[in-house]
Symmetry: C2
Subunit: 369 residues, 2 copies
Amino acid sequence: MSIRFKLLATDGAARRGWLQTAHGVIQTPVFMPVGTQATVKGLTPDQLRAAGAQIVLGNTYHLALRPGADVIAELGGLHRFMGWDGPILTDSGGFQIYSLAPTRKIDDHAALFRSHIDGKLVELTPERAVAIQENLGSDIAMCLDECPPYGTAPDYLRVAVERTIRWAERCRAAHKRSDQALFAIVQGGTDLELRSRCARELMALDFPGYALGGFSVGETETQMHAALAPTAALLPTDRPRYLMGVGTPRDLLLGIRAGIDMFDCVLPTRNGRNGSAFTKEGEVRLRNACHKRDPRPLESDCPCYVCRHFSRAYLHHLFLAKEMLGPTLLSLHNVAFYCRLMAEARQAIEERRFDDFTAVRLVRWGQSP
Amino acid sequence: MSIRFKLLATDGAARRGWLQTAHGVIQTPVFMPVGTQATVKGLTPDQLRAAGAQIVLGNTYHLALRPGADVIAELGGLHRFMGWDGPILTDSGGFQIYSLAPTRKIDDHAALFRSHIDGKLVELTPERAVAIQENLGSDIAMCLDECPPYGTAPDYLRVAVERTIRWAERCRAAHKRSDQALFAIVQGGTDLELRSRCARELMALDFPGYALGGFSVGETETQMHAALAPTAALLPTDRPRYLMGVGTPRDLLLGIRAGIDMFDCVLPTRNGRNGSAFTKEGEVRLRNACHKRDPRPLESDCPCYVCRHFSRAYLHHLFLAKEMLGPTLLSLHNVAFYCRLMAEARQAIEERRFDDFTAVRLVRWGQSP
């Protein structure tokens, strides 16, 4: 078996799990920092590890275009290429085709799109998406899916779901690596009937893990969270569940409460680069003049490298002076914040107090539970 | 005494020394990475330390303008502010007034210039330069000097030297911190007569260390190196000698051969940010297509984090993908390269084979010894 998953504890729908991969064990719920181009922006693998990252995500779309999956395979695979020896999950490229590629044509055979780098026409079939990810050598690969934005006409949404199911079947048939798990992606937008049908069909194909795709694609936060719990409940309890591309700290807690085990999002690194730090008291914008003489760390009890060594005043200075160390340090803290939030969530589930934990956090962030 | 300096060995004019400061001991010859705005661009203090940095340089001109020496003092001094607990040297701002400030007026009283940040008029007197550096709390401070570019008329060069001497006298009188050493700066361009007069007058004031300023300001490399040895030879043997703002790996070896103990330069970090790595075989431009599939590290025997974990192919990819980790990693390697070159130079001096060591290196870099 490519992965092993054990449910260690539950608290309501929230789950505390243990996920073994070819490159090590992951404690769930887990947040996966995004390393789109074979690097979590600004951070070394050592810094990532120290920040508490257990697994990182790589983007098939970007890596296939540059430097090319063949180049990475020739250099020993993605782990060796990027110097990260822990688990890696690669997405399938389905989402990026919708969000990045300038022109595209999708039919049952393949997705055809223009590279956002050099404008070349690229064809991505389910088989090719699997082959690329086998070349990359990730621990968890994703089936190619079709991920239409929120507001897509119901008729087309149905077509996209059918195609996602057929493509999952083809991905499963094409997949060969025994040290890599292939997850299926449940689509269907906010249409629960469609989600349910998609989940059922994918479960009949018996994947080792399931993802929820097509969230955070334009729907409101309320719509997303209303759909999460019922969709997660459709999935088998003995397989890991991954909510793709989500989200804020609040989204993660509500996602865990809905029964999700895995998350990825660019927010901690993107907001970090833009001078915004996640803290227990909410987001702190380091460019604000109020930080100029503030000797306090971002968080007094945060064990990360940044909070142990630097004041808000120093971080403020780095951003005002446009020093690249500013984005690096805030990305580092934000990843550590996300990973620590997950560690605390895991403990709260074990101690069967996850709802309280969530409520206290949301109130502190000025959000309604 | 603010510092202690011991000469441990010599080999020709090359010197192997030991320099104790308030924040630790420095083995010389030493290269000091430049942390202009209270950060060596892109590197954390931990990374700097791991790269072999013993002491870093801060720029008085930049720090006085932003965030202000008072702010840094209030936050516990420059060491604490930037999270570097090793020795720090601060320059006096003299060089930056010439190289950065848009308009300036210099008379015997002060240098008057416009801030390159907000255009405000700023007056820097010798007393103020000392006060700022005392506020910053560096281990080694520099006297305010006048540093005219190469090609300055002989008459004005004489005026600048006279002023530099008078200002050194005023700096010395103003300087109070017992845990900080104040170094004087010998000016005089490539005029050895003027250099000699400047050195003599400054030595009469008995400083704990002496710098050579006004090199690498437009003269040719040959002119600089021709002037170095005779100028260094003017200085007392029992005080450290610092060649300001120089230079390439070759410049450092020739500088050591001329009797210099300390160097600083932005080259390793600036060239690193631009995709150029220093290696035993010369500079390697990582953007070049020849690196696309190259599995080798930058240097096979380099113990730095970058060479232990990443291929040239990966670094090439990072620069092509415009990932900020590329500049960070190359800066890290380049600082490690400079520090290791100094460590090897120290050993070569101890073993009285420094000339051979230098010749072998220069030949490998395709340069004449």
